[in-house]
């Protein structure tokens, strides 16, 4: 078996009496999309925050490419190749689409301390940003103000910014949130192609997308992973059906 790119080992996180992560262990292997599903409040976003460094687990550890990164802050993990997208878009709304992508390229370059040269006429940064925008289908909107493009385009921009980091692993929190059927289908196609670049840990509510994309699925309920398996296994698992999928699935 190949070594996992990203791994949570026995992560526990309590908020007062509430156990938001209950000894969660899961991993992300090269080339795969690993979906995490579960009802609202199951602890998916809390898990992501601990994987990415926004929250420190009370117990357990996080490994990125074999190294223990549990003590590292968000930005250090980002520099080591962990790229995330947010459940609610976190973009500079006053800036253009291109400027947001250049911000990612700047982060990847690690050289924001330049004061007098124009950022957008730096061809290296610009090319990297435009390549990411082209990849997600936003090249024509590069000059648009982010506040003025559609919600769906902002979701694509989230992915483009992550792409500028040339990451070792993606962590995506509900990239389809708020997208219509068409938008979800486009995003699904995009993510499908992305796993060749880096594996994706995908938290998602859209079951069509999950069942189409996922190589493996983990189901979370009340902070714990209750099942992990292929799409077929998860669909067949009686405990999962009872806890989450209901009879509709």
């Amino acid at each position: 078996m190949t070594d996992p790119v990203l791994e949570a080992r026995g992560i526990t996180k309590r908020f007062g009496a509430l156990v938001a992560s209950d000894g969660v262990s899961l991993d992300l292997r090269p080339g795969e999309i690993h979906a995490v599903i579960g009802p609202n409040g199951a602890g998916k976003s809390t898990l992501i925050a601990q994987l990415c460094g926004g929250l420190r687990p009370d117990a357990g550890a996080v490994f990125l490419e074999g190294a223990d990164v549990t003590a590292l802050p968000v930005r250090a993990r980002a520099r080591k190749g962990l790229a995330r997208t947010f459940q609610i878009s976190a973009l500079a709304m006053e800036d253009t689409v291109l400027q947001n992508a250049v911000l990612g390229a700047l982060g990847a370059s690690g050289r924001p301390w330049r004061f007098l040269r124009s950022a957008l006429s730096d061809t290296e940064l610009r090319d990297r940003a435009m390549a990411a925008l082209t990849r997600v289908g936003l090249a024509d909107f590069a000059a648009a103000r982010t506040a003025e493009v559609s919600h769906g385009q902002r979701r694509q921009l989230e992915v483009a910014v992550a792409l500028t980091l040339a990451p070792r692993a993606f962590v995506m929190d509900e990239p389809m949130a708020g997208l219509g059927a068409e938008g979800s289908a486009a995003m699904t196609d995009l993510l499908d192609g992305l796993r060749a670049e880096a594996p994706i840990l995908l938290v998602e509510h859209d079951m069509d997308a999950v069942f189409r994309l996922a190589d493996r699925v983990s189901v979370m309920v009340n902070g714990a992973v209750v099942a992990t398996g292929s799409v077929a296994e998860i669909r067949a698992d009686p405990a999962v059906r009872a806890a989450y999928l209901g009879d509709a699935a």
Binding site: L103, F115, R117, T164
Partner: protein, 325 residues
């Protein structure tokens, strides 16, 4: 050219033409008023970097303005009284370039310390902490009797600049204007630079910066230091204009006035502090002649601007800012 760019050019042209005309017409007082406006504009450009680009609502920028004033005052005082600054070692100086470099170093250092401590907080706490630092300097200056205490320090003759006679009002004006123009040019470049882009994003979405591997707090700290240095430089020029420094330069009212003029002109707009300072000084002059309560009218005007014109006067004239390319 954008409407805002055209407006900026008009303002710049006015800042050249009006004082020149006043000089030729023998209206020395108008030249002095223009000098005051240009120096306050420079202080505002400093504040605008923290406030507009970085979103740091500092109510303590008088600390830097005052430090600039006192750096000038102390150096010039030792020069005019022929006493060493440090026993047997450093003499004072009447040279503006030396005073400016000292000012920039001192206020940048103060901004680094204040920034390190205040950037741990945000929102109202940030305002309070910066205000508290300003007040600390104010009370320190009042009790520092070696340098005039409450009464402040008078400097007999304006400091010198190589090749100029700074005693001639229009020449001193030209010098201050040149400094402002240079700092505006640098600000313009910084706004489009990688640092400017990152700072702008740090204000809007700090979480995004972290997610791409950058440290928003450090970026804001650097902006705060540069901001403090610019406002400090303005303080040195202000003291030279008046040939006088006093604890009033450290007062919270002064911090408030700097903030008022930035908001009046347009927060975050390159020329916001310039337009704001010109209007501020003009109102201060005219309304003061009309009524003792001119601050009340200014307050009302400010209220209207804040309520109805988020982009200040520049926003009213030129509309919303275009994203730079």
């Amino acid at each position: 050219m954008s409407r805002e760019g055209a407006l900026n050019l008009v303002v710049l042209a006015g800042l050249v033409a009006l004082p020149l005309w006043a000089h030729l017409a023998g209206e020395t007082f108008t030249v002095t008023l223009a000098t005051r406006a240009v120096i306050l504009a420079l202080a505002g450009v400093g504040l605008n970097l923290a406030l507009g680009a970085g979103g740091l609502v500092s109510l303590g920028h008088a600390a830097f303005f005052g430090l600039g004033g006192y750096a000038m005052g102390i150096l010039a005082f030792h020069a005019q009284s022929m006493t060493p600054l440090v026993d047997g070692l450093l003499p004072g100086t009447k040279s503006m370039p030396v005073i400016w470099l000292t000012t920039i170093a001192v206020s940048a250092l103060a901004a680094l310390v204040i920034g390190l401590l205040s950037l741990r907080t945000a929102g109202v706490y940030f305002i309070m902490v910066t205000l508290a630092f300003g007040q600390m300097f104010f009370y320190f200056a009042i009790s520092w009797n070696a340098y005039g205490g409450e009464d402040g320090l008078s400097i007999w003759v304006r400091n010198g600049f190589p090749g100029l006679n700074t005693l001639v009002p229009i020449q001193f004006y030209g010098l201050c204007f040149a400094v402002l123009a240079l700092v505006l040019l640098l600000s313009h470049l910084v706004r489009r630079s990688p640092f400017g882009l990152v700072l702008n994003a740090a204000r809007q979405v700090p979480a995004r910066l972290e997610a791409v591997g950058l440290d928003p707090t450090r970026v804001k700290l650097v902006a705060f230091v540069v901001s403090g240095a610019i406002t400090g430089l303005a303080g040195a020029l202000f003291a030279d204009l008046n040939r006088f420094v006093s604890p009033a330069m450290f007062s919270w009212q002064l911090s408030g006035e700097l903030m008022v003029l930035v908001i009046l002109g347009g927060v975050g707009r390159l020329f916001g502090p310039v337009v704001g300072a010109v209007i501020f000084v003009a109102l201060e002059h005219w309304l003061d002649g009309v009524s003792d309560y001119w601050h009340v009218y200014l307050g009302l005007l400010l209220l209207l601007i804040v309520l109805f014109a988020r982009g200040g006067v520049i926003g009213l004239v030129a509309g919303r800012e275009r994203a730079h390319d």
